[in-house]
C-alpha cells in the first residue's frame, strides 16, 4: 500500500511539473506580457521600456524557473491588473469558492447517493422512474436559469434566503443547491448501475445463500463494491467546483476564484491567470490522487 501511494505521488508530481511548464510557456509565448501590461494603445517605445523594466527580455527558461522558485517560496508574483500580490488575491477569493465547492458537493452526495441506491434496489419501480426524471431534468436545466428561479422563489417571493453576496454560510445555500444539482445526474446514474451490477453478481448470490438479505446484504456486502467508481467521479466533480463556477458565482455575486479568473482573463493579467490555471490543475491532481488512494484502500485488487 505504501509503495502504491508513493508511486501515485511521484506520478502526480510529474504531472504537476508538466502542467506548470506548459501553462507558463503557452501564456508567455502566445501573448506578449509587455504588451499586456502596457495596454492596447501603448506606443512601441513604451512596450519596449516595460519589457526591460519588468525583465521580460530575459530568456523564457530563466523566467520560468524564477516563477517556479517563487511558487515554492510563497511568492506568486504581482498582479498588474489588481495591483496586488497574486498570493493575497488567492487568499481573499479562495475561501468563498472552497465553501461553495464543499457545500455543493455535499448537496450532490445527499441527493444522488440515496436516490441511486433506492433506484437500484427497486429497478423499474416508481422510485426508479422518479430518480431517472430527476436526473434528466437536472441535466437539462441550465445553472443560471435554476439560480434565477431559486432567487425569485426563495429570496423574492418568500424571503427565506439572501438574494446574493457571500458574507455568511446562509448566503451559500442557494448557490450550493444550484451547483450541486448539476452534478446529481452522473453520480446518481453511476450509483444505480454500479449497485445493480453488484447486486446481480455471483458473490452477492453467495452472500444470499448464507442468509444475508435486505439492508444488511446491501451495506455489508454490496455497498463497498458499488461505491468504488463513485469516488473517482466525486473527485472529478470536486476538482471542477474548486476551479470556481463562473456562472453561479456571477449570478449570486460571490467573490470567488471563478470571478477572479474571468476578470483576470479579460484584463490580460498574465501573472494571475497563470497562477490560477496552475492552482486549478493542482487541485484536480490532488483530488485524483486522494481518490486513487481511497479506491486502493477499499479495493485490494488496485494495490498492485
Amino acid at each position: 500500500m505504501l509503495k502504491f501511494v508513493a508511486g501515485r505521488f511521484l506520478v502526480s508530481l510529474a504531472v504537476a511539473f508538466t502542467i506548470s511548464f506548459v501553462t507558463f510557456f503557452f501564456l508567455n509565448i502566445f501573448t506578449d506580457p509587455a504588451q499586456a501590461v502596457a495596454g492596447e494603445e501603448a506606443l512601441f517605445e513604451e512596450i519596449e521600456q516595460i519589457r526591460t523594466q519588468y525583465g521580460f527580455d530575459r530568456p523564457i527558461l530563466t523566467r520560468y524557473f524564477e516563477w517556479l522558485g517563487g511558487i515554492f517560496t510563497g511568492d506568486f508574483g504581482v498582479s498588474y491588473y489588481w495591483n496586488k500580490p497574486v498570493g493575497t488575491l488567492l487568499l481573499e477569493r479562495a475561501p468563498q469558492t472552497i465553501k461553495l465547492a464543499l457545500m455543493s458537493v455535499s448537496v450532490t452526495i445527499m441527493v444522488a447517493i440515496p436516490l441511486g441506491i433506492f433506484a437500484a434496489l427497486n429497478p423499474n419501480s416508481i422510485i426508479d422512474r422518479f430518480a431517472l426524471s430527476v436526473a434528466v431534468s437536472a441535466q437539462a436545466i441550465p445553472n443560471f436559469w435554476l439560480g434565477l428561479i431559486l432567487i425569485i422563489i426563495f429570496s423574492v417571493t418568500f424571503p427565506i434566503f439572501p438574494v446574493s453576496g457571500d458574507k455568511t454560510y446562509y448566503h451559500f445555500i442557494l448557490p450550493s443547491v444550484v451547483l450541486g444539482t448539476s452534478s446529481v445526474p452522473p453520480v446518481m446514474r453511476l450509483m444505480r448501475t454500479g449497485l445493480l451490477d453488484v447486486i446481480n453478481s455471483d458473490y452477492i448470490r453467495t452472500a444470499r445463500s448464507i442468509g444475508f438479505s435486505g439492508w444488511r446484504l446491501v451495506t455489508k456486502h454490496a455497498l463497498r463494491n458499488a461505491v468504488l467508481p463513485i469516488i473517482s467521479v466525486i473527485a472529478v466533480q470536486l476538482g471542477h467546483k474548486f476551479g470556481g463556477s463562473l456562472i453561479t458565482e456571477s449570478v449570486f455575486a460571490i467573490n470567488g476564484l471563478g470571478r477572479l479568473a474571468l476578470l483576470s482573463i479579460l484584463g490580460a493579467d498574465i501573472p494571475t491567470v497563470q497562477i490560477l490555471i496552475f492552482v486549478f490543475a493542482i487541485t484536480f491532481i490532488v483530488f485524483n490522487l486522494l481518490s486513487d488512494i481511497l479506491n486502493a484502500y477499499l479495493d485490494p485488487r488496485l494495490r498492485l
Binding site: 509503495k3 455471483d202 458473490y203 444470499r208 438479505s213
Partner: protein, 534 residues
C-alpha cells in the same frame, strides 16, 4: 431406519419473460435421506440448477416457484416467510457451493472476514471464537498457512484455493445439506479430482447429505449413490447410480451414456505416413506485462523452446491445463501471433514467408466458442463463402455449389445459407465454423478446444464429424485440448505441455496407458470414465 431429510414434491418453476409465463421446471420431486448423496445430471437448460435455486430461494428475479411443497426434516418450508427462511435455513441448514470460484467470493474483503461473517450471521458468539472456527475450517479444506490466508484477498488465491475457501464457507455452519452446483467445472482437470475428493471426504466426516449438480455423468456416478437425470425441465429417470448406468430406461440417458462410451475407444490404427508437413523448431514466445514507475515489467514465458513435427494426415493433440502454452503454440502455427525465436516450416518453407492469403489456403482454425466466433451480422452463407471469395477466382455458380457441398459435408442442409448465427444452436454453429475452415481444403486444421463449450451429446456429434472429415478429406488435424477423452477419441499422437514446455510426446494410447512423466500421470488419473459394462 434412516430418516428423510428433504422431500420435494411436484415443484414447478416458471419464468416471467416480458409477461409470458414459461414453465422451466415441471413437477420436480426428490426424496433425500440423511447423509445420502444424490447427483442431478443434465445438459445446459435442463433445469437442474434452477430447481435447486428454487429450493434455496436464490432464483433470478424473473423466476418464481409456481407450486409444489418442500419438506425439510418433516416441516413444510415452502410457505415460511423469507425472513424466517434466511435466518433459519439458508447457510445454516442448507448451504451451496457454486460453479465459478473466481467470482463467488467478494473481491474487496479478506477470506477471513468473509468466513467469520458467515459464521457470525448464524451464531451468537465472540469474534475470537469465530476466528478460531474459520481457521479450523480452512484447515479442514486442506489449505496451507491458514493464518496468513485469513488476511488474504480472493484475487491472491488460485481457482482451486478459492473453491476450497468456498467449501469452508459452505460448511462452517455445519449444515445438514450441501448443494454443490458444478463445483469443479471451472477448474483445471488435476485440481478437479482433488476438490471432488475433498468434498466427498468432508461430507462423510461431517455426516451431511449432498445434492451434486453436474453435466458430467462420469463424475456424478463416482460421487453419488443416487442419480436423477433431467432434460428440458423434466425428471426423466432416477435411481441408484449403478442401475441408471447399467440399465438406463430412457433413450436420453442411453444417449448420454453412449456419448461417454464412444469416447472410450481402444481401437487405434497407428498412423504410418511419415511425410513431414509442419516442422516446428525451437519456438519460444514470451509476453510482457506492462509495469509502472516502481514496478518492473514482468515477463511470462508462454512457450519455451518447443519443437515437434506434424506428419501428413495425422491428428496431433496438444494437451495441457490452462496456462500451459498450448493455445499460444496454436496461435503461432496459425500465424495469429509472432514467435520470439525459432522456426516453423510448412512444407519446408518458413511460415512467415507465406502471405496471409497463401497461409490461409493451407492452415485454417476452428475455435472454442461458437457463440462468439461467428459474426452475428452475417448470414451463414456469407460466412462460409467468404474464404472462397478472398482466395479463389471461382465463378459465382461454382462458389454456390461448393458452399452447398461443404455445408452438406458438415451435416447442414443448404437451407442454412440465409440464416443468421443467432438462429442456430451451439452445435450447428460449430458445424458452420468447421465448414468455413474446410471450404478452402486446407492441409492443416487447427482445432482449439473445439467441443469444450458444447453439451455432452453435441460434443460427441462434433467429434464424430471431425473424425469423419479426417478420413474423407485426409486432412491433418492439430487438436488443442485439456479433455483427455476427446484426445483419446480423435488423435494419433499426443504432446503433453506444462509451463510452456513439452513434457512428453508419443502415441496416444501409450501416453494414456503408460505415462512416464509425473505430471502426465496426474493428468491421466484425473479423468472420470464410465466403463461400458457388458
Amino acid at each position: 431406519m434412516e430418516t428423510t431429510l428433504l422431500e420435494i414434491k411436484n415443484l414447478n418453476i416458471s419464468f416471467n419473460i416480458s409477461k409470458n409465463i414459461v414453465n422451466t421446471v415441471d413437477n420436480f420431486s426428490l426424496t433425500l435421506k440423511e447423509k445420502e448423496t444424490i447427483g442431478i445430471v443434465g445438459e445446459s437448460g435442463s433445469g437442474k440448477t434452477i430447481s435447486m435455486l428454487g429450493l434455496t430461494r436464490l432464483l433470478p428475479k424473473q423466476a418464481f416457484v409456481d407450486k409444489g411443497s418442500i419438506l425439510f426434516k418433516g416441516r413444510d418450508i415452502s410457505n415460511i416467510s423469507n425472513k424466517e427462511f434466511y435466518q433459519t435455513i439458508s447457510g445454516k441448514k442448507i448451504s451451496m457451493i457454486f460453479q465459478e470460484p473466481m467470482t463467488a467470493l467478494n473481491p474487496v474483503y479478506t477470506i477471513g472476514r468473509q468466513l467469520m461473517a458467515t459464521y457470525l450471521f448464524h451464531n451468537d458468539v465472540s469474534r475470537n471464537s469465530a476466528y478460531n472456527r474459520a481457521i479450523d475450517f480452512l484447515d479442514k479444506v486442506q489449505l496451507t498457512n491458514v493464518k496468513e490466508r485469513m488476511a488474504q484477498y480472493p484475487h491472491q488465491l488460485s481457482g482451486g484455493q478459492r473453491q476450497r475457501v468456498m467449501i469452508a464457507m459452505a460448511l462452517i455452519n455445519s449444515p445438514e445439506l450441501l448443494i454443490a452446483d458444478e463445483p469443479t467445472t471451472a477448474l483445471d482437470v488435476t485440481v478437479q479430482k482433488e476438490i471432488v475428493g475433498l468434498i466427498q471426504k468432508l461430507i462423510e466426516n461431517l455426516g451431511m447429505a449432498m445434492i451434486f449438480i453436474s453435466h458430467d455423468l462420469g463424475l456424478v456416478s463416482k460421487t453419488c449413490e443416487n442419480i436423477i437425470v433431467m432434460e428440458k425441465g423434466l425428471i426423466l429417470e432416477s435411481g441408484k447410480a449403478e442401475n441408471v448406468l447399467t440399465r438406463p430406461k430412457e433413450n436420453y440417458t442411453k444417449n448420454l451414456l453412449k456419448c461417454l462410451w464412444s469416447l472410450d475407444v481402444d481401437h487405434k490404427k497407428i498412423h504410418k505416413d511419415r511425410t513431414l508437413l509442419l516442422d516446428v523448431k525451437n519456438i519460444s514466445k514470451s509476453y510482457q506485462l506492462t509495469g509502472s514507475i516502481l514496478k518492473p515489467k514482468k515477463i511470462i514465458n508462454a512457450v519455451r523452446n518447443v519443437s515437434f513435427e506434424i506428419f501428413k494426415g495425422e491428428t496431433l493433440a496438444i494437451v495441457g491445463e490452462s496456462g500451459s502454452g498450448k493455445s499460444t503454440v496454436a496461435k503461432i502455427i496459425n500465424g495469429l501471433t509472432k514467435m520470439d525465436s525459432g522456426d516453423v516450416l510448412l512444407e519446408g518453407k518458413k511460415i512467415d514467408s507465406y502471405s496471409p492469403l497463401e497461409r490461409a489456403l493451407r492452415i485454417q482454425p476452428v475455435f472454442q466458442d461458437p457463440y462468439s466466433t461467428l459474426n452475428p451480422n452475417h448470414t451463414i452463407g456469407f460466412i462460409v463463402r467468404r474464404p472462397l471469395l478472398l482466395n479463389t477466382s471461382l465463378s459465382s455458380y461454382e462458389i454456390e455449389t461448393k458452399v452447398e457441398k461443404t455445408l452438406n459435408l458438415v451435416g447442414l442442409s443448404e437451407n442454412f445459407i440465409n440464416r443468421f448465427p443467432s438462429q442456430l444452436s451451439g452445435g450447428q454453429r460449430q458445424r458452420v465454423a468447421i465448414a468455413r475452415a474446410i471450404i478452402l481444403e486446407p492441409k492443416i486444421l487447427i482445432c482449439d478446444e473445439p467441443t469444450s463449450s458444447l453439451d455432452v451429446t453435441i460434443q460427441s456429434q462434433i467429434l464424430d464429424l471431425l473424425n469423419e472429415l479426417k478420413e474423407r478429406l485426409k486432412i491433418t488435424i492439430v487438436l488443442i485440448s485439456h479433455n483427455i477423452s476427446v484426445v483419446k477419441f480423435l488423435s494419433d499422437r499426443v504432446l503433453v505441455m506444462n509451463n510452456g514446455e513439452i513434457l512428453e510426446s508419443g502415441n496416444t494410447l501409450s501416453i494414456i496407458n503408460k505415462p512416464n512423466n509425473n505430471y502426465t500421470k496426474k493428468l491421466m488419473s484425473a479423468i472420470f470414465t464410465v466403463k461400458k459394462k457388458v
